[in-house]
Symmetry: C2
Subunit: 331 residues, 2 copies
């Protein structure tokens, strides 16, 4: 028995052909029960671990899915990414995780790598260049875009309308009687879409032009101090701050408290994402909830459908999972 036993070693040990061992591994029921037992023993004895590279090459089936996201932490879709990886793993799929860090070039590299590894599917939360989109189409890899509803999706888009979120926030703020909103927008086109829609709707509702600030993503706690310091320097103090993430909202609340302001009485704060801390913070944070589980479910469904040959080339389609404004104490 060699260092790394192969299928042939097992076959020799069990005194059957390697084809039969392969069948036992992939489709046990087509192998006679007695034979199966012998093979099982041989596998145990040799300590055989299948070579997935060879298996995937021969079968042109992979059990790999690539998941791409800008960052791992401080990020709005962290929960969704984690749930996605867990759900994928539960079905025996391995996950190649790529961090694109807002760089389209990096995203392209990672997508090419995923195709090179013959990934079953590529799931991304970021954008993609036209050149890479073409590669994806040609490779016939299942392609899933999360957290967005692009006009013309490359494969399947599972997300929600960012402009709709912006408009809803504007209406909520108006309904609560706030007059001086301050917008904090993270960079990235999605945040920009929410912002633009907010401004438009706010104007329609007769509001004065809000003040604004921009922060880099990932936007957790780090930005809180600087952002709050800038707010205090504003000619007119806002009565509500609309943040690009719950983390930032939390940081603003902490800063407000440190400055002896009360939330929401002196300053209201709105987050985005409804991460677990939003419901646990003091005060609890008013925010926008996205149904991450549904996003995961839809993505998994699409992938398994293709793997089970139910569908060959998935039609391009858009799934809107919507969102929900969760009103809590902070605004």
């Amino acid at each position: 028995m060699s260092e790394r036993p192969t299928l042939d070693d097992v076959a020799a040990e069990a005194d059957v052909s390697s084809a039969t061992v392969s069948r036992y591994l992939n489709n046990p029921r087509v192998v006679a029960k007695a034979t199966g037992e012998i093979i099982r023993a041989a596998i145990e004895k040799t300590g055989y671990i299948p070579n997935l590279l060879a298996s995937e090459l021969a079968s042109s089936k992979s059990r790999l899915v690539a998941v791409l996201t800008p960052h791992l932490q401080d990020t709005i879709f962290n929960d969704t990414i984690e749930a996605m990886i867990e759900a994928l793993s539960a079905t025996g799929i391995n996950v190649m995780l790529g961090l694109t860090g807002n760089s389209p070039a990096r995203a392209d590299e990672l997508i090419t790598a995923a195709i090179s590894r013959r990934a079953d599917a590529i799931i991304t939360t970021g954008s993609i260049t036209e050149h890479t989109a073409e590669l994806v189409r040609r490779s016939k890899t299942v392609f899933i875009q999360m957290w967005d509803l692009p006009e013309k999706p490359i494969g399947i888009a599972v997300g929600f309308s960012h402009p709709a979120v912006g408009r809803e926030l504007a209406r909520f703020v108006a309904k609560r009687g706030y007059q001086c909103p301050h917008l904090i927008t993270a960079n990235g086109q999605r945040a920009a879409m929410r912002r633009d829609a907010f401004l438009e709707e706010w104007k329609l509702l007769g509001g004065e032009t809000p003040t604004e600030d921009a922060v880099d993503i990932p936007s957790r706690f780090g930005h809180g101090r600087g952002v709050f310091a800038r707010i205090r320097r504003l000619p007119r103090m806002p009565d509500v701050v609309i943040c690009g993430s719950d983390y930032l909202a939390q940081a603003i609340i902490v800063e407000a408290h440190a400055a002896n302001m009360r939330v929401p009485d002196d300053l209201a704060v709105i987050g985005f994402g409804n991460s677990s801390l939003a419901g646990e913070m003091r005060p609890t944070i008013t925010t926008v909830e996205i149904d991450g589980r549904r996003i995961v479910r839809e993505a998994i469904t699409a992938i398994t459908a293709v793997r089970n040959q139910t569908v060959r080339t998935p039609a391009e389609r858009i799934i809107d999972v919507g969102f929900r404004l969760v009103a809590r104490e902070s605004a």
Copy 2:
């Protein structure tokens, strides 16, 4: 040109042998410049994307590293994981990310999968069963354990001494004059090691037996309310709370403020990990810093050494990166 062009398609297009195309791809300098140009054009024209499965099978070299961690969020080594993935990606390595969720069985599955894919290395922050350890040894995969200093490492261990942290914390608490520490320990053996060492050292220093509480990991904000409620019900209010993470420390501070207590005057709080929020919170959080970058650096060094054939089978060794107690405002 077929749907998925192969090396042969490129070779035909360029009118050279597939061996030459392969050489151009992997070691361009051994190919004549003019030939290289022709091949480059052929690759572009055909839209060729190499099949890494075939490449890795033939060369028995992989460009895949498996990274295993219990959870993606709310976790102490999140920063290290992200830095690790980024560093790996920068050297052209793809990352298979596995979430073990504190389940040894899951860890075993993922490690087996990594070996099946002929991963260059397996990097884990969790523990591993003896059975799997044996598989790893036989597979000769580079194995790196982070965040810990096991007595007999399977491969390379890069971490720090958890008992030493516990002792240092006890001495710090004593030196600051606190008398009633309350320990909040997350489950997991490492946290237990810190706890045990704290208790032992505290006793040596003549302190009374501290009160204690336990929480599940991942331990972010969610546990704050419950933990704080239990603290208030304690027969004697502690003067310092030693938390298993900065997140939990933050949550305790928020709860203390909500209860009109001042930190650290009425209640001091100590975190663990020195994540970015520790330095940004109000008050800033006293915590224990781990040099995640050094951990990443050591791991990458070990991996590249093996890939460059500098070392064949890496010797088992332990690298202690130490830690640093960062005294800030909260204690």
